[in-house]
């Protein structure tokens, strides 16, 4: 069991709870609790009904001691669009880094209720995770757009200003993506590519299995709902047996409730996190492609120089710049991959332990209800 340095135990049962921030502080080698100077939370979803549209906003709260922020605390309201904008800006301005994924943008209307409590809560958790991942990142958390996202009262005004503020960040964002062919991919990046391919595949399979299980559970639930009442009907016919028969009927009813909760939890907590990681892997592969492009450009330029047969004592500056870009990109990517691997490990450990926990809780509930009926609670407790 995890606990903070001061001994308080930490909740690890929910796969993507907001307290996972504290979990990861404990487990993340890079950051000590004492040196953490930026805390961000997403909560309090609210529905807004306007003439043109209806949408949800979330409260984004920031607490910080960083110099880059004028105030120690901020509280703003943001909608999904704003998160999407932030992510695009981060991709543009930090192309050598892995940007965390957002929950899916488009939701088929009519199939899913965009305003249901469950959907909104699932989305809130994912948005919270998104911001916390950025907060944890030593480079991304200092990004200008991130700062504005957390602090600006009127984000739309800032959005309209567009490219004007890029200068502060100082990096050239325009990477040429014009058809250079890569000679040889360094082994480690090829390995990452292969890994991500297989990883996405396996996660996809797990997603399908989990969905199938939920489907089978719901079909099981349908039958249970007919099963329980029959015992009750029978109880109505009997005298001496009516008590045990009603008892069994009630137990089965409790099973139904417990099963419903299990399926809901899997749908709301387990599946979204899986899908998030599949999206993550997708965007990471795109970053790898960009890296390949940068390397290809450098190689092409280098080759062009070599062919010129002029006696040049040193390499031209633009080729040097390319070399720098390649080395920077590789370094950033390597560091991010390591960080990603660590976080992935913790996230999945938590996710799968959570899944196991949910199932244990289900069986415990069923055990207790039948144990009470048979008058043998001790049988159940002897387990512990």
């Amino acid at each position: 069991d995890l606990s903070l340095p001061n001994g308080t135990p930490v909740d690890t049962s929910s796969p993507a709870s907001s307290s996972s921030l504290l979990n990861r502080l404990q487990l993340d080698d890079d950051l000590d609790v004492e040196t953490r100077d930026l805390f961000v939370t997403v909560d309090d979803p609210k529905k807004h009904v306007c003439t043109m549209e209806t949408y949800i906003t979330y409260r984004v709260t920031t607490k910080t001691t960083r110099a880059e922020f004028d105030l120690p605390e901020y509280s703003v309201r943001r909608r999904y669009q704003d998160f999407d904008w932030l992510r695009n800006k981060l991709e543009e301005s930090q192309p050598t880094h892995l940007i965390p994924p957002l929950p899916e943008k488009f939701v088929v209307k009519g199939v899913v209720d965009r305003f249901s409590e469950e959907f909104v809560e699932t989305r809130r958790k994912a948005l919270d995770k998104f911001l916390k991942r950025i907060t944890d990142h030593p480079v991304l958390s200092f990004n200008e757009h991130f700062n504005v996202f957390l602090t600006a009262k009127d984000l739309n005004a800032y959005k309209k200003q567009g490219m004007a503020l890029l200068s502060k960040v100082g990096e050239s964002v325009k990477y040429v993506t014009g058809g250079y062919k890569l000679r040889s991919r360094p082994l480690e990046f090829a390995a990452i590519g292969d890994y991500l391919d297989t990883f996405s595949l396996k996660l996809g399979t797990i997603d399908r299995i989990a969905q199938r299980i939920i489907k089978e559970q719901l079909e099981y639930l349908v039958e249970l709902r007919e099963y329980g009442p029959v015992y009750s009907t029978w109880g109505g016919l009997e005298v001496e047996l009516s008590e045990p028969l009603e008892g069994v009927s009630a137990c089965i009813g409790n099973c139904c409730t417990a099963l419903e909760e299990l399926s809901e939890d899997m749908t709301e907590d387990f599946l979204p996190v899986l899908r998030e990681y599949i999206l993550y892997a997708e965007s990471m592969k795109n970053v790898l492609k960009k890296r390949d492009q940068v390397q290809a450009e450098y190689e092409a330029k280098l080759e062009a120089v070599a062919l010129k047969k002029e006696d040049r004592p040193k390499v031209p500056t633009d080729v040097e710049k390319c070399q720098d870009r390649v080395e920077c990109f590789n370094a950033d990517l390597k560091a991010d991959m390591e960080r990603w691997q660590n976080n992935k490990r913790q996230d999945f450990r938590q996710l799968l332990m959570g899944m196991a926990d949910k199932n244990i809780q289900y069986y415990e509930k069923v055990c207790v209800t039948f144990g009470d009926l048979a008058g043998i609670r001790e049988v159940y407790f002897s387990l512990k």
């Binding site: 099981y220 029959v230 015992y231 028969l245 196991a356 069986y363 159940y380």
Partner: protein, 402 residues
């Protein structure tokens, strides 16, 4: 309470064997034979065990025995046989009579039947039953010689009585309704239970897929690999565990089935009562009409329309001698009728008394058995949960080591 056979004799149906032979129509058939073993129980434990006697019987012989008992003891709720064909199956269970699991459960059901009969205070004393257990050859002939088939009431006669009886004992009418409802509710329960079992099977088996994918995933992971791999193994264990769980539940279903079939036995006793009551009512009605005829002849008044009366009016009165003769015949018939009515009345009352005594005995047995069955069902669920908790706890530990 006299000592019933079950206390003096150990009875088991210990084996089942596939046989082929030629049946009555000289057609080759495959059937299953069951080995009945009996051993006298020694009251003194001198360390001496009586020898085990055994003989083989097939299902049709059990049926013959039961038919004999039902006809010979119509006031008894005769224990039912296990089902002839597999019913209420879910997809994994076979509906094939030759399926070894079905045969095994039938073996247990047949043993249960014999033990029920052997522990019944009345039935256990029957000689045919005793011979069934001990006499290999010639038993069929012995049963047929009792002529029990002739005593059997025709279905049509029974149906007729059910519709026309005017004053059956209210308790039997209520009991009949109860057995109808019991039959209906247990059938429903068994059908739904089979569907529930099917679905539960599906849930468990799909988890087996986790085993394979975790294994494949672990191949590309470094630190996470071992944890994933071993967790996958536990998922396989989980998926496999459902087979034993559901097999145990089949025994519970069999216990319910026994009482489903017992409902039919209850109905049979009620039918017999209705038949006897109807018979009695008809006999009383016949007697009344004869008495009336007699009176009319004696007093010369015609109160009821009768063809004889009309014809005598049309063709002239009969002679006093003829009338005297008729009256005498009628008086004899009336006397016979009154004696018959008396004995039928007595029979009817005896039947009601002894049948109701057995019904009370049956009710107690049913309440006891079904209560135990329900509790054992609860215990089964608890055991299933314990297994589930164990597996997921093991998996959780593997995940924690990722």
């Amino acid at each position: 309470m006299e000592d019933c056979l079950a206390k003096k004799m150990e009875i088991t149906v210990s084996e089942a064997e596939k046989r082929t032979g030629r049946n009555a129509m000289n057609i080759q058939e495959t059937y299953t034979a069951y080995l009945i073993e009996t051993r006298a129980v020694e009251s003194q434990s001198e360390g001496q065990c009586a020898p085990v006697e055994s003989l083989w019987r097939r299902y049709s012989e059990f049926e013959l025995l039961r038919n004999y008992l039902s006809v010979t003891y119509p006031h008894i709720v005769v224990p039912p046989l296990p089902e002839k064909r597999a019913d209420f199956v879910w997809h994994k269970l076979s509906a094939d009579n030759m399926d070894p699991d079905f045969v095994e459960r039938r073996r247990i059901g047949l043993e249960n039947f014999l033990l029920r009969v052997a522990s019944h205070p009345v039935l256990c004393q029957d000689k045919i039953f005793y011979s069934f257990l001990t006499q290999e050859g010639g038993w069929k002939e012995m049963v047929n010689e009792t002529g029990f088939q002739l005593k059997a009431d025709s279905r049509l006669k029974a149906l007729n009585a059910t519709f026309r009886v005017k004053n059956p004992d209210k308790r039997f009418t209520e009991l009949k309704h109860y057995s109808d409802e019991l039959q209906s509710v247990i059938s429903h329960l068994l059908r739904v239970r089979a569907r529930v079992a099917d679905r539960l099977y599906g849930v468990y088996k799909v988890h087996g897929n986790y085993g394979r994918v975790f294994s494949e995933w672990s191949a590309i992971e470094k630190e996470m690999g071992d944890g994933l791999q071993s967790a996958g193994h536990h998922m396989d264990v989980y998926a496999a565990s459902i087979d034993d769980i559901l097999e145990e539940e089949e025994h519970y279903a069999d216990q319910l089935k026994e009482y489903l079939f017992y409902a039919e036995a209850l109905r049979a006793v009620c039918r017999k009562h209705e038949l006897m009551q109807y018979d009695l009512e008809m006999a009383a009605q016949d007697l009344t009409s004869k008495k009336q005829q007699c009176e009319e002849l004696a007093t010369g008044t015609v109160r009821t329309f009768s063809l004889k009366g009309m014809t005598s009016k049309l063709f002239g009165q009969e002679t006093p001698e003829q009338r005297e003769a008729k009256i005498k015949v009628l008086e004899e018939q009336i006397q016979e009728g009154e004696e018959q009515l008396k004995s039928k009345n007595l029979e009817g009352r005896d039947f009601v008394k002894s049948a109701w005594a057995d019904i009370e005995r049956f009710k107690e047995q049913k309440n006891h058995d079904l209560k135990e069955a329900l509790i054992s069902y609860a215990v089964m669920q608890i055991s299933m949960c314990k297994k589930g908790i164990q597996v997921w706890t093991n998996a959780k530990e593997c995940f924690s080591k990722m």
